[in-house]
Amino acid sequence: MQVSITVNGVVHECDVDPRTLLVHFLREELDLTGTKIGCDTSQCGACTVHLDGKVLKSCTLLAAQADGAAVTTIEGLSENGEHHPMQTSFWENHGLQCGYCTPGMIMASAAFARDNPGASEAEIRHYLEGNICRCTGYHNIVKAVKQVADAAAAT
């Protein structure tokens, strides 16, 4: 079937098998491998992207369902060659260990900080329940998100 999906601002018209999941579409059709497949059962959040601005686990949606929608992946988060503030904050706070969960963590956190300026540490930890870091490196991840949420509240 034919789908038209805008990914990181570029329209992609593709012929896909109806059973193609959005994460397959991103990784295999478009070669955008920043989005990871972790648990593949909508629990770990490694495949998190934004669909029309909302956080989505892209392993749990058909590309067909995203037809006509706008998707943002980790590759599309920076603007004009500048890292998104959440990417910068993960860098500054070393919010990663092995890095596998990082794209999903950043995508989820970027949406969270956008919608919840000034969020508390408890709110950040609760929100990130859908993103699992198997290195258990949560401390610096939460620190990174808090820095951006605080900065957003200050402006």
């Binding site: 109806p18 629990q43 369902q65 969270f112 993103n131």
Partner: protein, 281 residues
């Protein structure tokens, strides 16, 4: 993981969806219950009819009671002022489903069609007297949530029938709550208890109670309701209700190696008390 092959069709209206659906087809809304099942090859429908963009299936309206369209997402319900005011327990339960990514796309209609015994919203729908609205080739019908959930992953829905939405009475003069014992890893309910209490001064005039998670389906608990009604919800009444709820759910119990039936049965009493405390607190 890839699901089995299927044909995909997108419906623009309920009538079109009903005309498109084939004998071995399923309706797809958010897909957050159905797609995981298909990826694990626990189900392999030959056709999916996408109802996710049918305008009349989405949204919340408040007219005396609540009407919630089948493709309304958990997040929309959890954050709706109308739901928070008319049935706060449902807003709470929908806010406890999965995580934000799941709640953004998972729908209430898909949730109840899937009828996972450990899911949160069904328990509230049974306690608060919801009605499920269904459309089939032969017309529309409604069934109470209590009768809708039949058994483990089994509902009253017939082949080719579509859930169009659900209706709830206005519970704004009730004190209602949903409290669960979440599984430490999955956060699914090991036990979930919903209560809806109508208070008359210091006396509980009417109590509605349902239990899920511990059972193969959300179960209405008449014994516990009788133990609470007419009391001041004092310790003796709560103890009696906690005992009664164990009998109410006895024939529907489900367990596993980590949380066996007897443990969940005991916890249903504990979480009933917590639900009453939250509702009246």
């Amino acid at each position: 993981m890839w699901p089995n092959k299927f044909d995909y069709a997108r419906a623009g209206s309920v009538d079109e969806a009903l005309s498109l659906i084939s004998d071995d087809g399923k309706f797809l809304a958010g897909g957050h219950s159905l797609l995981p099942v298909m990826k694990l090859r626990l189900d392999a429908p030959e056709q999916l009819v996408d109802i996710g963009r049918i305008p009349e299936l989405s949204g919340i309206s408040a007219n005396g009671g609540l009407t919630i369209g089948a493709t309304t997402t958990h997040d929309e319900i959890a954050t709706s002022d109308a739901v928070q005011s008319m049935c706060s327990a449902l807003a709470s339960a929908c806010g406890q489903v999965g995580d934000q990514g799941v709640r953004n796309f998972g729908t209430i209609g898909g949730n109840i069609a899937h009828a996972d015994p450990a899911s949160d919203p069904p328990t509230v729908l049974v306690a608060c007297g919801a009605t499920i609205n269904i459309q089939g080739a032969d017309g529309a019908r409604s069934v109470s949530a209590q009768d809708f959930f039949v058994d483990l992953f089994e509902t009253d829905l017939e082949d080719g029938e579509l859930i169009t939405g659900l209706s709830l009475p206005n519970c704004s003069d009730c004190q209602c709550a949903y409290v669960k014992f979440p599984h430490p890893a999955s956060r699914y309910a090991i036990v979930g208890v919903a209560v809806c209490l109508k208070m008359d001064g210091g006396t509980c005039a009417q109590a509605d109670v349902a239990v899920g998670g511990a059972t193969v389906k959300a179960v209405k608990c008449a014994g516990a309701e009788a133990a609470l009604a007419g009391t001041s919800l004092d310790d003796a009444a709560l103890d009696a209700a906690a005992e009664a709820v164990k009998a109410d759910i006895a024939e529907w119990l489900a367990g596993d190696i980590a949380y066996p039936e007897a443990y969940r049965q005991q916890m249903a009493g504990v979480f009933l008390k917590r639900a009453v405390a939250e509702a009246t607190g």
